[in-house]
Amino acid sequence: EPEVTQTPSHQVTQMGQEVILRCVPISNHLYFYWYRQILGQKVEFLVSFYNNEISEKSEIFDDQFSVERPDGSNFTLKIRSTKLEDSAMYFCASSVTGQGTGTEAFFGQGTRLTVV
């Protein structure tokens, strides 16, 4: 069964450092997302991406964040200068059609980011 894969599973970084979280969405999916879950809190939307551009972003997704689809398979989330409050589980997801249509989004297993 096709799945969304994320690497690494756990990333520890020093405050102020840049991190890149990587995702390989399901190959025939066209919409890509990043969500995060701070420990003990709800899953929060960060950004959606379609046709090589951001289609929606939340207030969390400020100038420190960026996304990229550098080739035909990878989808990355970059945090330019990490802060302690960026520590969370980051989930990549993909779907065939956009949200708002009842389409299931498939989630990766997550990357746990710890900023020290």
Binding site: Q41, K42, V43, S58, F91, Q99, G100, G102, F107, Q109
Partner: protein, 113 residues
Amino acid sequence: DQQVKQNSPSLSVQEGRISILNCDYTNSMFDYFLWYKKYPAEGPTFLISISSIKDKNEDGRFTVFLNKSAKHLSLHIVPSQPGDSAVYFCAAEGFNAGNMLTFGGGTRLMVKP
């Protein structure tokens, strides 16, 4: 921002009995409601969904009920099995509510053998 809310952080049920997980929402723009299940160290996996124009959707042991006037939905699992023990997230989306899922806080279901 509490557009989607799950008021019960945890629920414990005996194997074979019914589990009922509840969810409330405030945004009338939502068109679809989805339930995701999450095991530790895994991402959420889709379970079942319902369109806002329906009041019930059933898939095997899982049934979702929607009361649009009360802005309330519930997930029924019957019979409950120990393998159902997980965190269940209610999520909502809408064509005019942004290209995103809005999640509730989750309910941890424990099914005791």
